[in-house]
Amino acid sequence: MPKLPTPPIPPRFLPAPPRPGTQRGRPRTPVEKGLEAGKTVVDWVDERTSLSGAVRWTMFRKVPKGTNWFYTLGSATMFAFLNQAITGVFLAMYYRPDAAGGAYESVRHITNDVFLGQFVRGMHKWGSSVMVILVFLHMGRTFFFGAYKYPRELNWVIGVVLLILTMLMSFTGYLLPFDQRSYWATIVGVNINGTGPLVGPYLSDFLRGGPEFTATTLSRFYAIHMLLVPGLIIAMIGAHLYLVAKLGTSAPPWMRPKPEPELTEEAL
């Protein structure tokens, strides 16, 4: 198997040439020694993990000509997910999945009593809509730029799985405030799942944890929302990003390849 060329290090990350009168690599004054400390730590870790190669492989990639702002939609989606993950972890510190009224009461407590609670809950609530919108914009960019074509089909498939998981997050998260809107939206949502022939009724029973909406339903949705699906999403984002780094991004469809003049058919 041919060895791929080592990705280049941008000039600004290369070590500066030594100043006149100083000896290279030998800090003398305490200030210089202090400045070297970070480098020493990084070197220590890198010597034992070889992480710098992976970092260079991921970060210092070549991107095609014509790359534009539309290419940031994927990163934007990921940052929306990170926002959901961080705010979600902190909301879980106050939330109680108690169907007998405790769930609604704990959400009311977060919104009205906890310091900055309204802000964190608002970030989570509005961030979820932002994430769904960004997922679709990212999907549209990929579709209209033809970026799903060979060799990136698998990344499209993973992206569709991520879309489904995002919708599942929206569905399960909608129940958690446990107000009238949550309750009836979940009833309707579960019953829509149930309209699938043959498997639908069993799927409904699985989602509710029984034939009726009970306390089990809420804790089930909570576990799916905060443990099961986030884990799957993180794994899928990892695979998605690995393939992006491995395959590179595609050029916009309006960019045409410009062959070297000596390689054109006329010259040959």
Partner: protein
């Protein structure tokens, strides 16, 4: 036949010159060890994964039944109008586990199904047969109306408009001789000819192929 790159080996370990081979032995000790280790690992993984999976899907197979619940004395229910009553369909979660049932006395001019001890009062579920929103009885219009997607039902609970695929569900009713109160029992579903089926979820038609496409579940059965 394509030429193989390596000469085919004998299946007997003795012929392959493996030290300490027994006669007739075909599995090397290394292969046996590998297989045993993989098999033991698979068994242990299954030992953890299968109970966890069964734990998650268990409620599908668990039958849930509710007791008979009193809703009032027999003489408060008229023949041509519904009286609402509150019953508990999911115990232990307070208000969220309660549901409204509309009850009237059986009216022989309207209810043509043969009478028995469980339909002397007609108890209609408020769960819309479309997607499960709560319908309300509007006496002036003599219609059940769903607020979500516009399902409309008549006095019998039969669909007269909107998206519902079947009539409203019903409950078995009986007269408790000891207390003298009307009681509401299990829910059941009906098709457009008021034939009785095991309780189905909303959105599942029961006419024609629907009764086979949406089978009865082990978690709820009719009486």
């Amino acid at each position: 036949m394509a030429p193989t790159r390596r000469p085919s080996k004998s299946k007997y370990t003795a012929d392959r010159g493996i030290p300490g081979a027994f006669e007739g032995e075909t599995v090397t000790r290394r292969r046996f060890m590998t297989g045993t280790a993989h098999g033991a690992g698979a068994l242990m993984t299954m030992g953890i994964a299968l109970p966890a999976l069964a734990f998650a899907v268990g409620p599908i197979f668990k039958n849930v039944s509710l007791p008979w619940q009193p809703v009032g004395p027999p003489d408060i229910f008229p023949e041509d109008n519904y009286i609402p009553a509150i019953i508990t369909i999911a115990p232990g979660i307070g208000e969220a586990g309660k549901s409204t049932v509309y009850i009237r006395k059986r009216n022989p001019r309207v209810d043509t199904t043969p009478p028995n001890q469980y339909n002397r009062w007609v108890a209609i579920s408020t769960r819309c047969a479309h997607l499960g929103c709560p319908v309300r009885w509007v006496p002036a219009a003599e219609r059940f109306i769903c607020p979500c997607h516009g399902g409309v039902y008549d006095l019998q609970g039969m669909r007269v408009g909107g998206p519902p695929p079947r009539p409203l569900d019903r409950f078995y009713t009986r007269l408790n001789q000891d207390s003298g109160l009307v009681e509401v029992g299990r829910r059941y579903s009906v098709n457009s000819e008021l034939r009785i089926f095991s309780p189905r979820d909303p959105g599942e038609p029961l006419d024609g192929l629907g009764q086979y496409a949406y089978p009865s579940r082990p978690s709820v059965r009719a009486l």
